[in-house]
């Protein structure tokens, strides 16, 4: 109910303000000052609004500079953790540069002209209907610049998406379901066993629907954490059992939808281990900052008698990035990039598919 009161109060305050302005106008009228109530802009309005135009230009510039300073150091614009990620970042930086230059110039022209050519009574504008040279100029210049960017973009794209180029990638399946992720490693043969959701048998713990008779499936390994050896090309094969999900690994500049009924693919080579990334100076800054924020929150939580938040430690993440239902906002899997040796040690301790099945009767 309080909200209703607040809304009502706001409405009454604005009505009374408006009435006061009207009384002010009326009193002026009584005292003999002639009021222009045509509701069409006069020279005074033009002057005020023209100045506001310039002020707004300053506002746009200010918010731009503020944002670049505040957010410019995000590790997600720099610090890619995959081989192709750096190429994407370079392209991104060039594109951002182009955007900022064009934005700054065009917004300047727009608001500055608005300011400079404010209307005056009796003045006349220049009758200037067209100029083919000018129009040709701003058709051809964007065309040339875009040709460059399109070419650069397409080269990067084919570089990123060319799945055949990697020699002997490690095959890993990412399996999505409402609302969690599983990873399936192909085992020593590096070939995933055949699978279909129709083969899912919960009672036998065959949760990903693997073909139990397929020899390739026997040594597959299913995990709930994604461990990746550093500097080894990985070919991700993606499936979903229910609705569309999207495997988003922002630190690796990787994303691909998981679509029920089909298999999608994405490939990248991780280049920075989790441990190395944690020691990256800008990441250390980020983590300290986040932990300070969490400390602040803990003070509030302690005040209301709730449990404090754990301190944050950096980890790579796989997030779901396609709306998939109620818990979409909490569908994640930890990714750990480690050395070949660490990876092998971890892998050794995983259960093979054939050993994970529960025998019936």
């Amino acid at each position: 109910m309080i909200s209703v009161f607040i809304v009502l109060i706001l409405i009454f305050v604005s009505i009374s303000l408006w009435q006061m302005i009207k009384i002010f106008d009326l009193s002026k009228a009584i005292s003999g000052v002639k009021i222009d109530d045509s509701q069409i802009a006069n020279d005074k309005d033009n002057t005020t609004q023209a100045k506001l135009m310039l002020a707004f230009l300053a506002f746009i510039y200010a918010i731009t500079i503020f944002s670049i300073v505040k957010y410019g150091k995000f590790p997600l614009i720099s610090n890619a953790a995959s081989e192709h990620g750096e190429k994407i970042d370079t392209l991104m930086i060039w594109t951002l540069l182009l955007i900022f230059i064009v934005q700054i110039i065009t917004q300047f022209l727009l608001y500055f002209f608005s300011f400079k050519y404010k209307g005056r009574k009796g003045a006349k504008a220049l009758f200037y209907t067209d100029n083919h040279k000018l129009e040709l100029m701003w058709t051809i210049i964007p065309a040339i610049v875009l040709t460059g960017f399109i070419t650069y973009g397409l080269l990067t794209w084919s570089d990123v998406m060319n799945l055949q180029k990697d020699n002997d990638p490690m095959v890993v399946e990412l399996y999505a379901q409402q609302f969690n992720w599983k990873a399936r490693y192909a085992g020593n043969d590096n070939v995933l066993g055949k699978s279909n959701v129709r083969l899912i048998d919960i009672d036998r713990a065959n949760i990903l629907g693997l073909d139990e008779n397929d020899p390739n499936a026997q040594d597959d390994v299913i995990t709930t954490e994604l461990h990746l050896p550093v500097n080894r090309p990985i070919l991700f094969v993606m499936r979903s059992q229910d609705v569309i999900h999207s495997a988003y690994m922002p630190h690796f500049r990787a994303q691909m939808n998981c679509v029920p009924g089909m298999v999608t693919k994405f490939s990248f080579t991780p280049t920075v281990t989790t441990k190395e990334m944690r020691e990256n100076p800008s990441m250390i800054d980020k983590v300290i900052n986040i932990n300070n924020i969490r400390e602040e929150k803990n003070k509030e939580l302690a005040f209301s008698g709730e449990e404090p938040l754990d301190p944050y430690q950096f980890d790579y993440l796989l997030l779901c990035n396609k709306i998939c239902g109620k818990s979409h906002y909490n569908m994640q899997m930890k990714i750990i990039v480690e050395t070949e040796e660490e990876f092998k040690n971890w892998y050794k301790n995983q259960t093979l598919f054939k050993n994970s099945l529960i025998a019936q009767n």
């Binding site: 065009t106 209307g119 950096f314 979409h328």
Partner: protein
């Protein structure tokens, strides 16, 4: 031609006696239908859509905290005042649907195409008044269905406005995909029927009912924009209808157009052989042109408003027409840029990157032409002009980031993040809204014979402008930091804790921006009744609508329809005392048209 005019006059006199019902409810007069669209589409649905966005923003800024406003508005969907996660997705979905389709498609085109096409072309009404009425009432049914879906037991549709199956197809996947989604689909079927009838009517009217002398290259740019918008609508909306019908088949009749191999809630479903990606193709074949269905009318209105209030001809009239046509053509071959990472063939991704980035060229031409129109103008800062300048500004800011999203390689990392949200809200949401508001301020005297208060208009614009940048500018950066959109809460990701303060600032700007729309609403409704009486042509405009009878008669002109002798942008033409020469003024001896 003379015969035609006489016949029309006759025709109009027979219809003079109108009852309350034929005048205000089942009206066939395009001016009344325009107002009906305005109140249903823009005001009624607009208020609902904006309110939903504020609820969402409050949840994002103060996640999972009890809030008395949630308790008050959402009731059982906010137990103890904490918003439910399902209803958050429902709000996302309904906000998108309502704003894109109801406010910015039906509201914008419905209001201004209806109002201006006959008046600016010199026609007594639309080609078919009856079809026009039918289109409105189909839209009305669609509105009622969509709004009623909010009140069903399990909540409205919650699969996002793009309603990708299987999420939208299976009630097992989420509660909103039950009756709520059925109502959504049926409502959209009515909506599309309405849109098609409306668009066909606009096209036929523009082609056939131009007054004498109104050649295609003498049409105001508003009409060009509405005309091309209608054509895009006729080409693309039927595809969405087919997608909706096939989805209804999958949902209710057991077909498998979009579904295959699904295991959900412990059971295998029978669907086999369909593909959700097929739905995505069908959806975006409308979905992308839809962006231009929303944007082009705003471009048209901005062209008209900028020329009129800068007292200067629009720069490069023909280039503007060509760029509208180019944008329209390209808009139908770029839909795949929404699907770079759906598993579509990467080669197709390259093709769509190429066609998408080409759109930047006609867009750049338009932006520079607007700026050149301002150069050496005599700019009268009336409220519509402010919104038109604001339009150009957000069109540039929002459009530029399209270079990132249209580039498949860059899209990988920002796809479905807040970067996308910022981009499309600026380039089509705020821009189209600005175009619409510019139109409302500009043609309010035409619609109601009254003037709106200019000072309230100034307050409205500046607070809206600051809020719009305050909301959407920082949003690009949290998107580049990897924050996915459509998350009910980010608290499960300590990684994003440092973005929480930005989200709170964004929400505050959003609340400010939404509140100031109340000033506009007040101004609009107050001025309708008590505003200062408008003169015949308050903005000293050249186009024909300002010569029509101020009495709002059915038939528009009391006597004969004016003939057109010149292009619509003779502002500040040398050799004339006034700084405007209306289109119906004959050329002087030896005067060149332009």
């Amino acid at each position: 031609m003379a015969e035609y005019i006489e016949f029309e006059k006759d025709h109009h006199e027979h219809h003079h006696k109108e009852t309350f019902i034929t005048k205000y409810i089942f009206s066939q007069d395009h001016k009344m239908i325009a107002k009906q669209y305005l109140f249903t589409g823009v005001f009624f649905m607009g208020i609902i859509g904006i309110l939903m966005s504020i609820l969402m923003r409050m949840q994002i800024a103060w996640p999972e905290q009890p809030n008395i406003i949630f308790d008050f508005i959402l009731g059982k969907w906010a137990p103890d005042g904490v918003m439910d996660a399902d209803i958050y997705l429902a709000l996302v979905t309904m906000h998108g649907t309502i704003m894109v389709f109801f406010v910015l498609t039906a509201g914008l085109s419905g209001t201004f195409s209806n109002l201006l096409i006959p008046l600016q072309l010199g026609a007594r009404d639309m080609a078919s008044g009856f079809l026009n009425m039918l289109a409105y009432w189909l839209f009305f049914i669609s509105t009622v269905l969509m709004v009623s879906s909010i009140f069903v037991e399990a909540g409205p549709a919650a699969a996002g406005w793009t309603i990708y199956p299987p999420l939208s197809a299976l009630e097992l996947a989420q509660p909103g995909s039950g009756l709520g989604m059925t109502l959504w689909l049926v409502s959209m079927a009515f909506f599309i029927a309405s849109s098609l009838l409306g668009s066909l009517n606009y096209i036929v009217t523009v082609i056939n009912l131009r007054t004498k002398g109104m050649s295609l290259t003498r049409m105001p740019l508003t009409i060009w924009a509405f005309f091309v918008t209608a054509i895009i609508g006729v080409i693309s909306f039927p595809v969405l209808l087919s997608a909706a019908l096939l989805l209804i088949m999958d949902r209710s009749f057991g077909t498998s157009f979009f579904l295959s191999d699904i295991f959900i809630q412990g059971e295998v479903l029978h669907y086999q052989g369909g593909s959700p990606v097929l739905f995505e193709h069908l959806f975006w074949f409308l979905g992308h042109p839809e962006v231009y269905i929303v944007l082009l009318p705003a471009l048209g209105i901005a062209s008209e408003v900028i020329a009129t209030h800068a007292r200067k001809p629009i720069f490069g009239y023909k280039a503007m027409i060509i760029s509208i046509l180019a944008i329209a053509f390209l808009s139908t071959i770029v839909w795949g840029h929404h699907m770079f990472i759906t598993g579509m063939n990467p080669f197709l991704g390259s093709v769509f990157t190429f066609t998408t980035l080409l759109i930047a060229i006609p867009s750049a031409v338009k932006a520079f032409n607007y700026i050149t129109t301002l150069w050496k103008g005599n700019i009268q800062f009336n409220p519509p002009m402010l919104f038109a300048i604001g339009f150009v500004s957000t069109f540039i800011t929002g459009g530029l980031t399209g270079i990132i999203l249209g580039d498949s390689a860059l899209d990988i990392n920002v796809h479905d993040t807040y970067f996308v949200v910022a981009h499309f809200h600026l380039v089509m949401g705020i821009s189209a809204l600005y175009g619409m508001l510019a139109g409302m301020y500009h043609w309010f005297p035409l619609m109601f014979g009254k003037m709106m208060n200019k000072n309230l208009g100034y307050i409205h614009f500046w607070v809206t402008a600051i809020s719009a940048y305050g909301v959407f500018f920082p949003m690009h950066f949290i998107g580049m930091a990897g924050l996915p959109r459509r998350y009910y809460s980010n608290t499960n990701f300590p990684l994003f804790d440092d973005l929480a303060d930005t989200n709170q600032i964004i929400t505050m700007f959003a609340i400010l921006g939404a509140s100031v729309q109340l000033v506009f609403l007040y101004n609009f409704i107050y001025s309708m009744f008590y505003g200062k009486k408008a003169t015949q042509n308050p903005w000293k405009s050249t186009t024909l609508e300002w010569t029509a009878s101020q009495k709002q008669i059915h038939g528009n002109w009391q006597g004969k329809i004016p003939q057109v002798h010149r292009w619509p942008y003779d502002y500040s033409k040398p050799g004339y005392k006034d700084d405007f020469v209306p289109q119906h003024m004959p050329l002087k001896k030896g005067e060149e048209e332009y």
